[in-house]
């Protein structure tokens, strides 16, 4: 069983992620449900989905083991830092948490090189999710 905050954060992600299809609440059942749906909030994290997907493809080419939506989403989920405490609904909180996570990774120097770009790992994975989604 995952700890409280991690559980609620994951619940958060998945709630928005799979919408009505996903069970809500914190239970063993929803701890790691398989999904092949792109979280509806995620495209809102980038300025342009097509551009993000192009960068994401480059990331996936260098990280073939991550060519899987579940793997990527689990990694993003695990990286999301604590509740930012901002209001504005679930999506807004997730977007803010993602912003914080990405900045925190730069702060710690947790980066990947994507065709020369020095990117936060989570940021690159967000682009990769959008690449997988675009490519079906």
């Amino acid at each position: 069983m995952r700890s409280g905050p991690a559980c609620s954060r994951r619940t958060f992600l998945l709630t928005v992620l799979v919408g009505a299809l996903a069970p809500t609440g914190c239970s063993d059942k929803d701890a790691s449900p398989p999904t092949d749906t792109v979280p509806p909030w995620l495209p809102g994290a980038v300025g342009d989905v097509d551009a993000a997907a192009r960068i994401g493809r480059a990331y996936l080419q260098a990280n073939r083991g991550e060519r899987n939506l579940d793997t990527l989403l689990a990694a993003i989920d695990a990286a999301l830092v604590g509740d930012p405490g901002l209001g504005g609904g679930d999506t807004q909180r997730l977007l803010t948490a993602l912003q914080h996570t990405v900045r925190a990774e730069y702060l710690r120097g947790e980066s990947v090189n994507v065709q020369g770009w020095v990117l936060s790992v989570t940021e690159a994975r967000v682009y990769a999710v959008l690449a997988l989604a675009a490519d079906g």
Binding site: G44, A45, V46, G47, D48, D50, A51, A52, R54, I55, L95, Q99, V102, R103, E105, Y106, L107, G109, S111, N113, Q115, G116, W117, V118, L119, S120, E123, Y127
Partner: protein, 513 residues
């Protein structure tokens, strides 16, 4: 007084208290320090008041290492290379003076506190006073901008001041001309430093002109101020008494040549919202009559923790992107920049809307980045004499400039730091054009900063000059200029060499009393 050595009678001897070889920033600064005093100074300058291709050709030489345009990287005329310098000024950092156990051969005989009293007057001389090189709060107040504090601890901001740039010959020549105690001998090439039989003192300088005359200058004290490459050459050429060259009894003259490797185009940073990057971080700002610009430098703590060499980074806006513009359709690099700006827009700008409300297609800009880094002192990076000769019949200079793996690794770490700082602040994304595991790029260039070839050390087995810039073992011979720097730091050298020269002038005044 100016005297053209080509117009003197052949075989003239000029006498002075202090003979200064070279009329560049170092030589002129030294001579000025004696202006109006009772000390007779003779400045011996190879060039004239105007550039002359025949004189300049004496600077040609041979390359054995990294390609280096020896004649283009310095200027043989009164005023020296200040006739075409860029004017970037910043003092060395305190850590640059330290013996660092991760930097072989590092350490000055003194700390920055020894030079501190001279940096102010030196800033005056290069016309950047009042200068404030590091206080962020001062620059926030002065510019009226909020200056983002770097957050990772890896880097900090420093402030480069731009000299007009001072042309030392034009600016200070008239002062020397007017001073009753200073004679500037123009078109006079020192071809040999004549030492006494045991090589323990200098008793004269042999001079040749390009119209075939030979003269001599004698003095109580001699100061070589021919620039960071030529200082070594003239000592090596002066080998009639000491066969290895004057001051070269320990085979150090010419070794440890250091540049500041400049890697233009190592990477670019894209920035969506320029309001997040205040003007002084990306542009030269006119303050108190001269330009100032912020530089990104590794912090002292990070250098220590990671055991790295120093570096300086500066950036400037190089282009702008808009959705669907021609540049991004035609160039791979522009397309990649535009993609990153579009993808990362939410990370780099507030809100979900366009970055500029009145311009929905605006994506942002890219910054061209320049870097100049410290290279570790390396005995194999060196100046020797070539087999080729110049028109005076003297062996030309041969430069074997070398960089090491340590230099490259250090620089790459700092490039990543820059990416992390921009990422942490949510200002930009950096793309690197150099791979982590690549060798030094072919296109590495120098900044015309010539350092280390007559390095300063208290121990004659480790340095050519002592802490007072006196050549070890030679009682009355001194060296001025960046050739005495034992390490280079990452700041442009002229401000520091002017400060060091003022310190040398004080020392000589003490000696002359």
């Amino acid at each position: 007084m100016y005297t053209d050595a080509r117009t003197l009678n052949d075989g003239t001897t000029v006498q002075a208290d202090v003979a200064v070889v070279g009329g560049g920033p170092a030589g002129i600064t030294l001579a000025r320090a004696f202006a109006g005093s009772g000390v007779e100074v003779c400045v011996i300058e190879a060039g004239g008041l105007q550039p002359d291709p025949e004189v300049q050709a004496l600077y040609q030489g041979e390359n054995a290492g990294i390609d280096y345009p020896l004649a283009a990287m310095r200027m043989r005329m009164f005023g020296g290379s200040s006739n075409h310098w860029g004017g970037y000024c910043r003092p060395l950092d305190p850590i640059d003076f330290e013996a660092r156990d991760w930097v072989p051969h590092s350490g000055w005989p003194f700390g920055i506190e020894e030079l501190a009293p001279y940096y102010g007057p030196a800033s005056d001389i290069v016309e950047v006073a009042p200068a404030e090189y590091q206080d962020m709060a001062y620059w926030a107040r002065t510019t009226g901008d909020t200056l983002p504090q770097l957050a990772t601890g890896r880097m900090w901001m420093r402030f480069v001041h731009f000299s007009p740039p001072t042309r030392f010959g034009e600016k200070y020549g008239p002062e020397l001309e007017r001073a009753g105690n200073i004679r500037v001998l123009l078109n006079a090439n020192v071809v040999n430093i004549q030492a006494t039989a045991e090589g323990r003192a200098v008793n004269g300088l042999d001079i040749r002109t390009l119209n075939g005359l030979s003269h001599r200058v004698t003095a109580r004290y001699y100061v070589i101020a021919c620039g960071g490459l030529e200082n070594a050459r003239i000592l090596l050429l002066s080998n009639d008494v000491v066969p290895a060259g004057l001051g070269n009894q320990n085979d150090l003259v010419g070794r440890f040549f250091m540049e500041h490797p400049h890697l233009g185009g190592f990477g670019e940073i894209v920035v969506a919202d320029l309001q997040r990057l205040p003007p002084i971080y990306r542009d030269r700002i006119l303050v108190h009559g001269h330009d100032v610009k912020a530089a990104f430098n590794p912090s002292e703590a990070f250098l220590r923790e990671q055991r790295l060499l120093n570096a300086t980074f500066m950036g400037g806006v190089a282009g702008e992107y808009r959705k669907g513009d021609k540049a991004s359709a035609e160039s791979e690099r522009a397309a990649a920049h535009a993609d990153m700006l579009m993808a990362a827009q939410r990370f780099l700008a507030d809100g979900a809307g366009p970055v500029k409300a009145d311009d929905p297609d605006y994506l942002g800009v890219w910054l061209g980045m320049g870097c100049a880094c410290e290279q570790a002192p390396n005995p194999d990076s060196r100046v020797t004499l070539s087999g080729e000769r110049d028109v005076l019949g003297l062996p030309r200079i041969k430069l074997d400039w070398r960089l090491t793996e340590q230099d490259r690794r250090s620089l790459l770490q700092h490039m990543h730091s820059l990416a992390y700082e921009f990422g942490t602040l949510g200002i930009g994304r950096l793309v690197l054009n150099v791979a982590d595991d690549s060798p030094w790029p072919e296109v590495v260039a120098g900044g015309a900063h010539h350092m280390g070839t007559t390095r300063m050390h208290d121990d004659p087995r480790q340095g050519v000059v002592d802490r007072n810039s006196k050549v070890h073992g030679v009682d009355n011979l001194y060296v001025a200029g960046s050739s005495v720097f034992p390490t280079s730091g990452a700041a442009n050298p002229t401000l520091t060499l002017v400060a060091l020269t003022l310190r040398l002038a004080d020392h000589l005044k003490g000696q002359l009393q």
